[in-house]
């Protein structure tokens, strides 16, 4: 393989990896606050892309406005999900909540099918212009946006969790919810916020990637699985592991396209997920296992 091909591979891998990392971060946020896996996480991404595409294509809004609106809407959807369903289920177990998110994912997906149909939607890249050529590899301008904005967001989140008071409170809830409550932290508000942030992150990912890959109503679940794979690779509970896992997954997937038929691309990512969990269930970097009561040692 030539160095140009390898570089191309790396570029592609980092681009999709950025998206997987964002999805994984969204998972982490909600998981940390509620111990629930949000099966609708992938739908947030698809919604972000499709809402923006519709706003630009049908309503003729400028891209930046459409994107902001889409992200805000999906963030609001996240809050609505928490308000309507998650915070109301008192008697249920964590599995019940997860199944509710699964039902929500199905609702979103079929609603999109009814609304925009099965064909992919599209809007123009943020900055028009031909792709750059770097050492023989092609770098789409949009890819720079994806990786750049993605990394910026990740840095911002890191900062948020370590320095902003709300961010530290969210972290406290993740470590021990009861203790956080006893310290006066409003757990309900934290949960609501994590859903809002998660929705925003997902929608942002959708907005970023649609100019490159188009948005179709049924991409959600596969995306969710890959975001989950990113978290699994790195280990649940830690934001940094979702990021590393996401990029790693993206690179592996890009590499696989070079040797395998493209129809198997998704299967590669999924096989990685399975292998990662089989070898080290708590993630390769070590993460927090599902909370369950343990005998006093």
């Amino acid at each position: 393989m030539t160095s140009a091909e390898i570089l191309q591979l790396v570029i592609t891998g980092l681009t999709v990896g950025s998206i997987y990392a964002l999805v994984g971060l969204g998972f982490n946020l909600i998981f940390n606050a509620t111990d629930v896996i949000n099966f609708a996480q992938g739908e947030f991404v698809v919604l972000g892309g499709i809402l923006t595409a519709v706003a630009v294509g049908t309503a003729g809004l400028p891209l930046w406005l459409a994107a902001i609106m889409a992200i805000a809407l999906v963030a609001a959807l996240g809050a609505l999900i928490d308000f309507a369903a998650i915070s109301r289920v008192r008697r249920g177990s964590v599995m019940t909540l997860a199944m509710i998110t699964l039902g929500l994912a199905v609702i979103v997906k079929t609603s999109l099918l009814l609304w925009v149909g099965p064909d992919p939607l599209y809007f123009d890249p943020f900055t028009p212009g031909p792709p750059l050529r770097i050492f023989g590899a092609v770098l789409q301008l949009q890819a720079i946006w994806v990786i750049g904005v993605g990394v910026l967001v990740m840095i911002a989140l890191k900062f948020f969790f370590s320095h902003a008071r709300i961010g530290r409170e969210m972290l406290a809830c993740a470590i021990d919810r009861e203790a956080a409550q006893l310290m006066g932290i409003n757990v309900g508000a934290t949960v609501r916020l994590s859903f809002i942030l998660s929705g925003a992150l997902g929608a942002l990912a959708g907005v970023l990637i649609t100019p490159l890959t188009n948005a179709t109503y049924d991409q959600g679940f596969t995306l969710a699985l890959k975001g989950f794979a990113a978290c699994a690779l790195g280990g649940f509970g830690r934001a940094s592991s979702a990021i590393l896992g996401g990029f790693a997954l993206g690179l592996i997937e890009a590499a696989s396209v070079a040797v395998l038929p493209s129809g198997l691309k998704d299967s590669v990512a999924l096989s990685i997920l399975i292998l990662a969990l089989m070898i080290r269930p708590s993630g390769l970097l070590g993460g927090r296992e599902e909370r369950r009561h343990t005998q006093a040692m």
Binding site: G103, L104, I107, L277
Partner: protein
């Protein structure tokens, strides 16, 4: 045993119903309802009773269907043998996969089984030489005894119904045996089960194999009746819908599973203006139901029964 009475009544109803059914379309629905019944019962035993979630049942469903198709169409085997292979192969595969995979719990297991289902679907699509790719396999010979063939709606109604009732009977019996008690204890506390000498790793794999075999049976019935198989019947949506149907009916109950299966089958009919998007209703039902009563419809029935019991105790 109240349950056996209910079952008997249903069997009687089922036996005489064809006298009342006019259209082939209705037979169609019932056939698919019985096929779905077998699928959801398998999932119920695995998830509702043994506590192992699976989002990959469509994979085993598909393997069963393709096995029945390939062995009869390509290898010229008798349909009956195709049916048996459709049960045995997924079951064995289920056990082999189950041993390592079921060490995982909760979401990890859900995601891994979903991933497995997706990978199997990719195999159905990409392995064209064997599976025929997107076009699938057509011309599946029907199971036949004399003039009765599996392709005829009435015959299939009785065949799938008989198998459906048989599986229901077996499942009802199973949960009351020591094996069933072991499953139910394992679901709530694997530690307690192991401390009673129950080999949980093996038990999980066995139940996984059982549900895989049942899914395979359903697949074979499907292949036999419809006459062709293609990947689009065995997608992640199929698996998700099975789980959602089970959740609506009641995860911890076989009767809930039965209800969920029938709901899953008849709902697309009631909402056929929405076509594929009846999923909207399914999803909405799940969200509403689980928010109100996590134990599903069965849980609501239980609540009514308890409320009635309390009222009677008060007036007594």
């Amino acid at each position: 045993m109240r349950q056996t009475h209910v079952l008997l009544a249903l069997v009687l109803a089922w036996l005489v119903a064809p006298l009342l059914i006019q259209t082939g379309g209705t037979f169609n629905l019932f056939i698919f309802a019985f096929i779905n019944l077998i699928l959801v019962l398998g999932l119920s035993l695995l998830f509702g009773y043994a506590g192992q979630i699976s989002l990959g049942q469509a994979g085993f469903y598909g393997i069963g269907a393709y096995m029945a198709a390939i062995l009869t169409v390509r290898s010229g085997l008798q349909p009956v043998l195709g049916l048996i292979a459709a049960i045995v192969v997924p079951a064995v595969l289920g056990y082999v996969i189950g041993r390592p995979v079921l060490r995982l719990r909760g979401y990890y297991l859900a995601m891994v089984t979903a991933a497995l289902g997706l990978i199997l679907h990719t195999v159905f699509v990409e392995w064209e030489a064997v599976t025929g790719g997107y076009s699938g396999i057509t011309g599946i010979p029907a199971l036949a005894i004399g003039p009765l063939t599996a392709r005829s709606p009435v015959t299939m109604y009785y065949l799938s119904g008989a198998l459906g009732f048989l599986v229901m009977l077996m499942a009802l019996r199973l949960v009351d045996t020591a094996y069933g008690r072991a499953m139910r204890t394992m679901r709530e506390s694997e530690m307690a089960a192991r401390s009673c000498g129950i080999p949980t790793a093996r038990l999980k794999a066995e139940v996984f194999a059982l549900s895989a075999g049942l899914s395979g049976l359903a697949g074979a019935l499907y292949a036999q009746y419809v006459g062709f198989v293609s990947p689009e019947s065995f997608t992640i949506d199929t698996s998700v819908n099975l789980l959602l149907a089970l959740a609506i009916g009641g995860v911890g109950s076989l009767w809930g599973a039965a209800f969920g299966a029938f709901l899953l089958t008849f709902m697309p009919e009631w909402f056929h203006e929405l076509q594929n998007a009846y999923g909207l209703v399914l999803g909405a039902l799940v969200v509403v139901m689980l928010t109100l009563e996590p134990r599903g419809l069965w849980g609501i029935l239980l609540r009514l029964r308890d409320a009635r019991g309390k009222r009677e105790a008060k007036t007594a």
